[in-house]
Amino acid sequence: MHLAYPAVLAVLLFCTGLYGVLARRNAILVLMSVELMLNAVNLNLVAFDVWLRDTLHAGQALTLFTIAIAAAEIGIGLAIVLLVYRNRGSSDIDRLRDLAETTDAADGEPQPDTTAEAAA
């Protein structure tokens, strides 16, 4: 199989994921898009590993690491999203703006933590 097919597929997957991360509002969908990007990378790793005929199969080994890390990441990420939803009643990324620079803080001395505490 020619290298172009998996490579193009990986690019498409990655761009889909990138679009999802930048444009989706729902935090769960953002996380899923991150998984898409990771898997595009995995596909690349496996494909180039085969194409390069690497005797140590470093690409495949690295893929296993990535899968393990992705599993851990999605576990923590979903837990955070769940807690955010329980606290706020929403997992909409656009509305989670507690760390924004407010106008009054911009004028005077910086006031760390006050808005975060008020929100919590």
Partner: protein, 665 residues
């Protein structure tokens, strides 16, 4: 104890007393008086022991090297000769008298402990200057005296006058001390040693390369310390200190240090005729100018201060004609009677409740209130005016005799011009001295008007000290035939011509002043000025502090009151307003030095505030502005951040590719 050990103990005892007094002053107030008086008294006794032990024999020199310096060594050395031991006796005696007097004078003063310790430290420094044989060690004592003088003049630091006077005294004397330091260095470089004996040996061998320069540099320091024109302006102002301080520091000892140094280093000065002429002219200007100024002063202590300046001029005049025996003789007799005059003035200020002569001339019976001060002051003023047979007559005639000796060309190596300058100005000053002494006496003790207020009896110790100092004032002249054996061997007996001339002009001065006073005192009743402002129950130190603080508001300018009854006003005529302010020298210095320095300070302040600080503030403001700009990017939307991150990484990737392929930049 050997002579050396005794001599070492002399400066050491007051020093230890001062340290103990400073340490224990607050914790053990009961020990302050013994710690003040006893070490000084012991030192005074030891100075007499040293004087007797040293006798008229050859000078004793002992030295031990302090530390190797790599070049010219600094020695801890003693040099005891007739000059040193006799001046030490004077210092010890006057210091003891002053300490005793202070126990009475400042008995209620809250700062007595530190005051007494500083007086002890001062005494120790002066004795060090007198006994040391090494110029560096001498300089240490010299500077310690300067700083003690600063603290003691500023003793009444609650009053503005005292604060200003202490700073002035310090700065003006330091102005002279810098050239003095350079003079010592130049002298030591030429001679290869700081030891005075070594330096004098080198001078005798002609080893001194720049005698005029060295002598003039040293002279600057001497002018500052001994209050000679043009650096004399600090001394009249220093009268804002307590009276015992004026007696000790500004009459008998510190100002004598300059004269003493010139006496010790006289061969250096004698090596340069130009330096001698400068010294003579300086002394002459100082003598005559201070005599005129003294005649116009209203503050009793300022009269005495200008008189001190003038008498120091006599001593330096004697040195200018190469006779250090006469100079030191006058130093000793002047130290005794001037200390007496100042201490008497302290009694008078307490009894009258004012330091203004104009106010005193309007109260009668002051002499009856303080008979001890009256009699001792009278004799001391006669001694000051050089009326025989008191001490001042013999010492002043010795000076005038030496000047005549030089003027007629009989003295070897002394320019005749110096002799004539000193002789003429000395005679003129004798006239002025008698005039202001007479004026002081008449205005203080012959006042007419309301009865002087009753402030009770003066403390016994104060009166006793006056009588102790009365003895040398009255009888030191008897020592004139004995002294030459202690000094250089030149006769100090009065010569007929100068004696007749000197006493004659003094009598003329006194009588003219008396006539003027008879004429003007009638005017006193018509213009009553001057009220007694001091609290009658206050102690002497409080009375004086009040007098100093209230002089300017009550009687006008500190220098001279506008009093038509003043005989000095009639005698001086149009000169009077100028003489009262010291011939505008202070105003001149203000225009020449104070204003430029202030302007420079304003400029520096502007540069610091408007230029340097701008950079400092900008260094803070610029990051703050940048931070405000960057903060706008923080919207709180994670996806915006990620978008920016993506854009950035794309840019970096493109740049990396371009660089790697070599198509870019």
């Amino acid at each position: 104890m050997t002579l050396t050990t005794t001599a070492v103990l002399v400066p050491l005892l007051p020093f230890l007393g001062a340290v103990a007094g400073l340490l224990l002053g607050r914790r053990a107030p009961g020990f302050v008086r013994p710690l003040a008086v006893l070490p000084t008294l012991a030192a005074a006794v030891l100075t007499v022991v040293v004087a007797v032990g040293q006798g008229t024999g050859p000078a004793t020199d002992v030295a031990t090297e302090l530390t190797p310096t790599g070049s010219i060594p600094i020695d801890l050395s003693l040099h005891l000769d007739g000059f040193a031991v006799l001046i030490a006796v004077l210092v010890g005696t006057v210091a003891t008298c002053v300490q005793l007097y202070s126990t009475g004078y400042l008995r209620h003063d809250p700062r007595y402990a530190s005051y007494a310790a500083l007086v002890s430290l001062f005494t120790s420094a002066m004795l060090l200057v007198v006994y040391t044989g090494d110029l560096m060690v001498l300089l240490v004592g010299w500077e310690v005296m300067g700083i003690c003088s600063y603290f003691l003049v500023g003793h009444y630091w609650e009053t503005e006058a005292a604060r200003a006077a202490s700073l002035k005294a310090f700065l003006v004397t330091k102005l002279g001390d810098v050239p003095f330091l350079f003079g010592i260095f130049a002298l030591a470089t030429d001679a290869g040693t700081f030891r005075i004996t070594g330096i004098l040996g080198s001078v005798a061998d002609g080893g001194l390369h720049h005698p005029t320069l060295v002598a003039l540099l040293l002279l600057a320091g001497v002018a500052g310390k001994s209050a000679q024109f043009p650096l004399h302006t600090w001394l009249p102002d220093a009268m804002a200190g307590p009276t015992p301080v004026s007696a000790l520091i500004h009459a008998a000892t510190m100002v004598a240090a300059g004269v003493y140094v010139v006496a010790r280093l006289l061969p250096v000065f004698a090596a340069s005729a130009a330096a001698l002429v400068v010294l003579a002219v300086m002394a002459a200007i100082t003598m005559v100018g201070s005599g005129l100024a003294a005649l116009a002063q209203d503050d009793i202590k300022r009269v005495l201060a200008y008189s001190t300046v003038g008498q120091l001029g006599y001593m330096l005049g004697a040195l200018a004609v190469g006779d250090r025996g006469a100079a030191v003789f006058h130093l000793i007799s002047h130290g005794a009677f001037k200390a007496l005059l100042f201490l008497g003035a302290g009694v008078i200020i307490h009894a009258a409740g004012t330091n203004s002569l104009a106010a005193m001339s309007r109260m009668s019976g002051l002499a009856r209130r303080i008979p001890d001060a009256y009699w001792t002051m009278t004799v001391a003023l006669l001694a000051l005016a050089a009326i025989p047979p008191f001490a001042g007559f013999f010492s002043k005639e010795a000076v005038l005799g030496a000047a005549e000796h030089a003027a007629t060309g009989a003295a070897h190596g002394i320019p005749g011009a110096a002799g004539w300058t000193v002789l003429v100005s000395g005679l003129l000053t004798a006239l002025l001295t008698a005039a202001y002494a007479m004026r002081l006496w008449l205005r203080v003790f012959r006042g007419k008007g309301a009865e002087a207020p009753d402030h009770g009896r003066q403390p016994v110790v104060m009166n006793a000290v006056l009588w102790v100092l009365f003895l040398p004032t009255a009888a030191l002249g008897l020592a004139a035939p004995l002294l030459p054996r202690w000094f250089d061997g030149r006769s100090l007996a009065p010569t007929l011509t100068t004696s007749v001339l000197g006493t004659g002009v003094a009598l003329v001065g006194g009588l003219v002043t008396y006539a003027a006073w008879r004429h003007t005192s009638a005017l006193a009743a018509r213009t009553p000025i001057g009220a007694v402002v001091a609290d009658p129950d206050a102690g002497p130190e409080a009375a004086e502090e009040t007098a100093i603080a209230t002089h300017a508001p009550v009687y006008g300018d500190n220098a001279g009151a506008a009093d038509p009854a003043d005989p000095g006003r009639l005698l001086l005529g149009p000169l009077q307003p100028h003489a009262a302010v010291g011939f505008h020298l202070d105003a001149l210095y203000t225009a020449l030095f104070v204003r430029p320095v202030r302007a420079a300070a304003t400029l520096v302040r502007f540069l610091d505030g408007a230029v340097v600080d701008t950079y400092v503030r900008a260094a803070g403001a610029a990051p703050r502005l940048l931070g405000a700009a960057v903060r706008r990017a923080q919207t709180g939307n994670v996806q915006t951040y990620l978008g920016a991150l993506l854009a950035g990484s794309l840019l970096l990737a493109v740049a990396a590719v371009l660089v790697a392929t070599g198509t870019g930049a």
